[in-house]
């Protein structure tokens, strides 16, 4: 019971909090693609792979008091930051601890911008395609974001490194 919820809490605790809903969504999706037990269903949405179930569970966890959501004023917009609470420690035990390699990967993802993670997650979403076809697809579905060749190269390198690190 609630193991999927507990896995989310453990993930956020391991990241020492995550700022930005988009960032959280993309980090969890990338983790799912790397084998982390993310059971929430993802679909392709406005910003790439997105899980309505994950959004719902985050809100539930905030209501339950196992996560805290704080608004951060960024001038033109508001960002939401998520962190664990003292009450979440027992609850988190419902989900098995993460391995060291995976914890490192979470840290590396957190360092990246949400724009970059959006690109990485979208490339993962089309990972059944050849590399050039993946790039073409990203240009079609995210034409307005104008990702550069350098960003693609960095994203592919990042994916390769994550896989190499046995995340």
């Amino acid at each position: 019971m609630l193991r999927d919820h507990a896995a989310i809490v453990r993930f956020i605790e391991q990241a020492h909090g995550i700022t930005g809903r988009k960032k959280l969504q993309k980090m969890m999706y990338i983790a799912k693609k790397l084998g982390y037990p993310v059971n929430e269903k993802y679909e392709f949405h406005m910003y790439g792979p997105y899980s309505e179930e994950l959004t719902a569970r985050i809100e539930e966890l905030c209501t339950m008091g196992f996560l805290v959501e704080e608004k951060e004023d960024k001038g033109a917009y508001t960002q939401y930051a998520y962190s664990t609470t003292s009450e979440s420690m027992d609850f988190m035990e419902l989900s098995p601890p993460l391995g060291d390699a995976f914890s490192t990967c979470i840290g590396e993802m957190k360092e990246k911008s949400s724009r970059f993670l959006e690109l990485v997650a979208t490339l993962f979403y089309f990972d059944d395609l050849e590399q050039q076809a993946q790039i073409d697809k990203v240009h079609i579905v995210k034409g307005k974001l104008n990702f550069s060749d350098e960003e693609f190269a960095e994203a592919f390198k990042f994916i390769e490194d994550l896989k190499k690190n046995n995340c």
């Binding site: 988009k22 949405h45 910003y47 959004t55 719902a56 539930e60 209501t63 033109a76």
Partner: protein
């Protein structure tokens, strides 16, 4: 010779439909797709899964819903959009096919089945569209890349977002059909709204479909209908109880198979799902008639848990439930699991936590991931305004998720006089009989 993509039937065909009165077919491609075996299979998949155990009229199929979504999209593009410069008429066939085929990959009692076998019906929709199937053969006659185009619209990765939004957005043909169809077949009085009015005021714009502001009240009604249907029908706790039992029965059958159990009735159709070797052909061969046949046979199985769960489902001896606040009560779960074991009742199958959650309408928050494209109103001035900024009714439900948590259990098995059973009743708050 007329290209296949634009071939018309010699005479229009119609399907009589209780929701839209008639479904009109003129395109040869659409007629052929409806006749494909993968589409005909949808006749044997109920639109509302286990809901028929609560609302006995809810026996309608995904076949009729798919035809309904097709008909709504056809009316939008042929009646409201045709001739408007913002609408690209060359997208007509792809959006009609996507509307018709958007649910093609649903399996028997989809949610339970997907949960147990870790599947996603949307992957199967893609696989049927792009694989060696009758549907694919028909779509490929339009052009070699046509099946992929249809698949991309359904997967929401198609370049023309306006086309995608007709099938998938906060006010799309899918929802407009299922709300009315489900209301009709369940017999509830919610779920009704003035769809004709909404269709008349829909206008194509870049990347989206907008609603003329004069139609705002019809849209308000649609949003409230949706809200009511989720809580009165889709999340009905008794229907959830049936789904909990169905899920647990499939889990049990899978576990027994993994442990080498010899079934009295060999589960031929499920074997490849139990061991993970299934093919697309295996998947398409499954439907609710097949599943219910096995459930009927398994009521006589030697394994008492499988036999009991299947009997409960077939004869509607469902689990009882209590409200359960996971924040407050999650520690109780551990105690209950241990008490159930002490009482000789396996909690893995007989103590189930279940959550339902819905967000009636969401608006876009700049810089953040709202993700749901909001409903936009076209004002008389030509300005575009987001619905919840104009409608107080919609504003009242916007961004407000409602969740419901329940704990399910077989109450009649907890009526004994052992200390464990007495304590279970106490923890669950069950009245002494």
């Amino acid at each position: 010779m007329t290209p296949y993509a634009t071939q018309k039937l010699a005479e229009e065909k119609v399907f009589k439909d209780p929701v839209h009165r008639y479904i009109h077919i003129r395109d040869q491609v659409i007629w052929d797709v409806i006749g494909a075996k993968e589409f005909q299979r949808l006749r044997r998949i109920r639109q509302l899964g286990t809901t028929y155990l609560v609302f006995h009229g809810a026996e309608h199929s995904r076949f009729s819903h798919s035809l309904g979504v097709y008909e709504i999209v056809r009316r939008i593009i042929d009646n409201s959009f045709e001739g408007r410069p913002e609408w690209d008429q060359s997208e007509r066939l792809v959006v009609l096919c996507a509307a018709l085929l958007h649910d093609l990959g649903h399996g028997p009692f989809s949610h339970a089945f997907e949960n147990v076998f870790s599947l996603d019906h949307e992957d199967f929709t893609q696989a049927i569209l792009l694989g060696d199937t009758e549907v694919n053969a028909i779509l490929s006659r339009v052009s070699t890349d046509f099946p992929q185009k249809v698949a991309d619209v359904i997967a929401k990765t198609y370049p023309n977002k306006q086309v995608v939004s007709l099938i998938s957005s906060q006010i799309d043909a899918d929802r407009m059909d299922y709300l009315q169809r489900d209301a009709y077949f369940t017999g509830v009085s919610y779920g009704h709204f003035d769809m004709e009015r909404i269709l008349r005021v829909m206008r194509p714009r870049e990347d989206q479909v907008v609603i003329k502001s004069s139609g705002m009240h019809a849209v308000e009604d649609y949003i409230m209908s949706r809200y009511q249907m989720y809580w009165q029908v889709y999340f009905h706790p008794v229907s959830r109880s049936a789904e909990v039992i169905l899920t647990k029965a499939l889990h049990r059958a899978k576990k027994l198979s993994e442990e080498g159990y010899t079934f009295t009735h060999e589960p031929t159709h499920f074997k490849s799902f139990f061991d993970g070797t299934f093919t697309l052909e295996d998947y398409v061969a499954l439907d609710e008639s097949v599943l219910l046949t096995y459930f009927q046979l398994w009521t006589k199985e030697q394994d008492s848990i499988l036999a009991d769960l299947c009997s409960r489902f077939m004869y509607r001896k469902l689990f009882q439930y209590i409200e359960f606040d996971p924040a407050k009560d999650f520690m109780k779960m551990r105690e209950l699991e241990s008490l159930f074991r002490e009482a000789g009742i396996d909690p893995d199958y007989y103590l189930v936590f279940d959550s339902s959650s819905d967000l009636p309408y969401d608006f876009y928050r700049p810089g953040e991931e709202g993700e749901r494209i909001p409903i936009h109103l076209l004002m008389p001035s030509g300005e575009i305004k987001e619905l919840s900024r104009q409608s107080e009714i919609v504003e009242a439900v916007s961004g407000k998720r409602r969740s419901d948590h329940k704990l399910y259990f077989p109450e009649e098995r907890l009526r004994g006089d052992t200390p464990a059973e007495r304590r279970i009743r106490d923890v669950l708050g069950l009245k002494e009989v």
